[in-house]
Amino acid sequence: MIAPFYKYGLFGDEVSLILAAVIGVGFGFFLERAGFGSSRKLAAQFYFTDMAVFKVMFSAIVTAMLGLFYLSWAGLVDISMVYVSPTYLLPQLIGGLVLGLGFIVGGYCPGTSVVGISTGRLDAVAFGGGVFSGIFVYGELYPWLADFVKSTSMGRVTLDSWLGVDVGMVVFAVVVMAVLGFWGATTVERKLARREAEA
């Protein structure tokens, strides 16, 4: 028996939807536990006072990455069947920038706004409404945007194949960068806390 189980036909579509809901419950639970139902907590990342966004995001990425690559190494997961969203370099560069600006203006991202909505945050409700309108604007402009969003298409390309190095080296580098980042983030938080206490 080898994972991903759905792609190897261990269960069908109906079961997959139940699992999707269960996975979603876990996702929402830990987002809320992290404090991400609050836009103030999320926005604090960009003022260096509380770097939880970086810490949570990168400990999640490192956990899932290590789990996936150990399981693949042990022959339990067929990594070629795991979806890697295709690279469209320029649209993802510009899209990321617009999304990042939207993050600091709006205070949420789509996933965290859902958690904000379920815990009563009215600004999250407004934000969610904004996401709908942004997608609608995109949809209406799509005929003119299509050429751009399909440009600089590189297909399924991962950091290791792009750099031409072994995947293990990239995994190792990501872990080292994350640990250094955690240390740096905590150092900055402490410095700012001290400065605010003095002021």
Partner: protein, 165 residues
């Protein structure tokens, strides 16, 4: 909760999604499905002629709502509520800095959400799909995206400090 502990928890949920389904988490796709279904209900010919809407309308097992992301996001609503209720954090409020009016904050939330929705569609996913999921599988575009999200956030922070600080 300690941020590293919450992150590991989140990472294990993401790993579970990879192992069970062969795909990661997402959020903006569920918003897109709802937009596509509404446009299709109001102007079916218009929606059917648009490749973007059509992609979401043809997704799902027999109905666009019977898709992984729709069920997952309903789960997120439930899971977020359970965690918030257990911690006594469910509260009808508008999150904002001490110098910001509630009305102004709501306006900025709508504006930011609109930028977010548009940006997520340009990039082919949001912080969940591209950032977390694409990041964990080392996608080149996902890492490019993630770096730009932080660049965008920090670039805007100075101008918006009245909203948050």
């Amino acid at each position: 909760m300690n941020p590293y502990l919450a992150g590991v928890g989140l990472g294990l949920v993401l790993l579970l999604a990879f192992v069970l389904m062969g795909r990661g988490l997402g959020a903006s796709g569920a918003f897109s499905t709802i937009v596509a279904v509404i446009v299709d209900a109001v102007a079916p010919a218009h929606a059917q002629a648009n490749e973007f809407y059509l992609g979401y309308l043809e997704n799902g097992y027999g109905s666009p709502f019977k898709s992984f992301l729709m069920f997952e996001v309903i789960g997120v609503l439930v899971g977020g509520f359970i965690s918030g209720a257990l911690a006594g954090r469910v509260k009808r409020t508008v999150e904002r800095g001490p110098r910001m009016s509630a009305k102004g904050r709501i306006g900025l939330a709508i504006l930011g959400g609109t930028m977010m929705g548009f940006g997520a569609k340009l990039a082919g996913g949001c912080t969940s799909g591209q950032g977390l999921s694409g990041g964990a599988v080392l996608g080149l575009g996902s890492w490019t995206f993630m770096i730009m999200v932080f660049v965008g956030g920090y670039a805007g922070a100075y101008f918006l400090r009245r909203e948050w600080r």
